[in-house]
């Protein structure tokens, strides 16, 4: 067992087994090359990884080590003792009779023991440090004739340090009470002291006054009382309102034994009114004979991390927005097409209307018909604008019920111009019983649009076969919905599939290369998957699946 001592490592204890007994020796000497293979030890220290040599007499990365050569070690195991990522010590095991003794099952047991040992070592160190602190404090108080006390007015509990017993002349074993305190106060000062204490407890203010003590042997001591008032804050009062309920629930469960420990991320209010983010690891430490059980909370200030996370989230929203805008730019042919048709209809119908009204005689019935057609065309144009506006808006992701069949139809409608221009035959295979998913409709439409436009690009230069696009929606068991876009384009190499989803990867000269990468993030934020498969024939199929549980949160 090797532990750090200051700058170096020391072998604290060594256990040796022979046929009849196990001998444990407290060594407490520095680690040398004569004790163990230093290369193995250094390696374990550096990498914090377990080093296992099945047979040191054979070839291994450590065969050149002096110790290995001279001591004929067979099985070697060097196990770092880690508390989270901190190295607390190293356990070195060696068997120089048999190789391969450290089988996985034994290593598993050793690792478990090692982690327990690490915790115990830490606790022992804390305890020893605490004892040392106490000893120093006691010595300091004795030297300066200062005694300290703690007093909880609400319950009357009082705690005295060693020196305070000394000053008040009570036996070390006596339990301090307010009554005992007043027994020592000089009769002429009792009223004054009582008033001072009352003032302090009422206002929660510090104490700072002098009074006299009258001891049983008649001697008088003059003492100066300085005390700091501590407002008994419940941790809940410090906690941000939003987290109090869950925090309380977890704490209660901890005390009732329903939980061993919990972790919570929450905000604390600071005295100056600002707030910080913390990550708390809270556990219940069982009581011992000398100490009642208590709750221990390890609190880590994660304000910076939270800030970075928020900044990242914001950047992601901006990126999603930017790619949406860029995608809409690619839709220019579609937009022009979608709007031009109804506009042409409107202008033609109105021209017809005017001519009909100025005819001799005026053709009122005909004119009425033209007006009706104009109305209908105007509404068509308005619908296109509405669909586009949703895509243009910069917005936070929302969680709503989305019908992927409907949403996909809308996207196809928006892209009709592109599809026609690209001479593409579109086929849809929508499942009838497609369940709703919970998510952000606009973001999901952005993904479908991206897949569609990518498919279009893939078929851009295809002239020897029909350009076919098949869009399919299906319900999968395991409660999820799958949408796939299949093209008959250039396809991709199976081994290059990961590259497709890389940010900034594009084969288009004016492409941003963000489409598939952003689409994947969007799908993943919906707890789904996006993947690509080459077809049996030409082209590729891009698919995504999203769970349709209604309790999914985006």
């Amino acid at each position: 067992m090797i532990l750090p001592r200051g700058d170096e490592y020391r072998i604290e204890a060594e256990a040796t087994t022979s046929s009849s007994e196990v001998k444990v020796e407290l060594r407490q000497t520095s680690v040398t090359a004569a004790d163990l293979p230093e290369s193995v030890f250094r390696y374990a220290l550096r990498t914090k990884e377990c080093v296992l040599i099945h047979d040191a007499s054979g070839q291994s990365s450590f065969s050149a080590d002096e110790y290995v050569r001279e001591h004929h070690a067979r099985s070697v195991l060097c196990l770092p003792l880690l508390k989270q990522t901190r190295l607390l010590g190293v356990l070195y095991l060696e068997n120089n009779l048999t190789p391969h003794v450290f089988i996985p099952a034994r290593i598993a047991v050793l690792k478990l023991l090692a982690s327990q040992a690490a915790i115990s070592l830490e606790n022992a160190r804390f305890y020893r440090d605490a004892q040392q602190m106490e000893a120093y404090l006691k010595a300091a108080q004795t030297l300066s004739h200062t005694g300290s006390f703690g007093w909880r007015p609400a319950t009357g509990e009082i705690v005295w340090s060693e020196e305070t017993y000394q000053i008040t002349g009570y036996d070390r074993g006596t339990k301090p009470t307010l009554e005992l305190v007043f027994q020592r106060i000089h009769p002429e000062d009792t009223v004054f002291v009582q008033e001072a204490l009352d003032r302090g407890t009422l206002n929660g203010t510090d104490l700072d006054f002098e009074h006299r003590l009258l001891l049983p042997d008649g001697s008088v001591k003059c003492v100066h009382i300085v005390a700091h008032a501590v407002r008994d804050e419940s941790f809940l009062e410090l906690t941000h309102e939003d987290y109090r309920a869950s925090n309380w629930e977890f704490s209660t469960e901890l005390l009732e034994g329903k939980r061993k420990q919990f972790q919570i991320e929450k905000q604390y209010w600071r005295k100056d009114g600002s707030s910080i983010w913390v990550s708390n690891n809270v556990s219940l430490v069982p009581g011992t004979k000398s100490m009642p059980r208590f709750i221990m909370a390890l609190s880590e200030d994660i304000t910076e991390r939270k800030r970075a996370q928020d900044a990242l989230h914001h950047a992601q929203m901006e990126l999603a927005h930017a790619t949406r805008i860029a995608t809409i730019g690619q839709l220019s042919a579609s937009i022009a097409h979608e709007l031009n048709q109804p506009l042409t209809g409107i202008i033609t119908n109105c021209s017809t209307c005017l001519r009909m009204l100025t005819g001799d005689p005026p053709n009122l019935d005909g004119a009425r018909e033209t007006v009706r057609r104009t109305m209908r065309d105007a509404n068509r144009a308005s619908e296109v604008i509405t669909r586009l506006r949703a895509l243009f808006s910069k917005r936070e992701a929302t969680a709503e019920s989305v019908d992927l069949n409907e949403s996909t139809r809308e996207v196809i409608a928006l892209s009709l111009g592109e599809l026609q221009k690209g001479q593409v035959i579109v086929r849809t295979e929508f499942a009838d019983d497609l369940p709703l998913v919970t998510g952000d409709r606009v973001q999901l439409q952005q993904v479908v649009l991206n897949l569609l436009l990518n498919a279009l690009d893939a078929m851009n230069n295809v002239n020897d076969r029909p350009r076919e696009l098949v869009i399919r929606t299906e319900r999968w068991k395991g409660e999820c919905v799958c949408v796939s876009v299949r093209d008959s384009g250039v396809g991709f190499e199976p081994h290059a599939v990961d590259k497709l989803f890389e940010a900034f990867y594009t084969t288009k000269h004016d492409g941003m290369g963000m489409g598939l990468s952003v689409s994947r993030s969007i799908i993943e934020s919906h707890h789904g998957r996006l993947w690509a498969t080459p077809n049996d024939g030409p082209g590729a199929t891009l698919s995504f699946s999203i769970p349709c549980r209604t309790d999914t949160k985006v």
């Binding site: 031009n340 033609t348 021209s351 221009k421 001479q423």
Partner: protein, 131 residues
């Protein structure tokens, strides 16, 4: 600009409209009838070719971007089969290459959507050789 009355020679000539868009198919024939033409609309080039109105069509108003056979394809097809129907193209696409090709292949007119009724009438007059 000739009005309906002055154009008695070409009155009731059949103008065919081929466009996959419903708005155009419903609005354009009405305007053509006000101009004094007979009009019939088709939703695709294939439908027009398969119809029995091909022979009597005096002028063709043709959309370019259509699924299946495009307007330019139809123009080529008609030439190959010796039809000399004047064609006025209507399209939303502002593509110079497409426009050039249309005229190379003998188009009588090329209008960008949305077009005014006067522009259409002028194109019709040019196509039908009426000055």
């Amino acid at each position: 600009m000739k009005s309906c009355q002055e154009r008695s020679a070409v009155e009731r000539s059949l103008v065919a409209v081929v466009d996959d868009d419903e708005s155009v198919r419903e609005s354009l024939p009405a305007l053509l009838r006000v101009f004094g033409f007979a009009a019939h609309a088709f939703s695709s080039a294939e439908e027009f070719l398969a119809s029995d109105r091909l022979g009597e069509t005096r002028c063709l108003i043709l959309d370019i971007a259509m699924p299946g056979m495009t307007g330019l394809d139809l123009q080529r097809q008609l030439r190959i089969h010796g039809h000399t129907i004047p064609i006025i193209f209507i399209t939303a696409q502002r593509d110079e290459a497409v426009r050039a090709r249309a005229f190379e292949q003998g188009a009588a007119g090329f209008l960008l959507k949305p077009f005014s009724d006067t522009a259409l009438l002028a194109a019709l007059n040019t196509a039908l050789g009426v000055r």
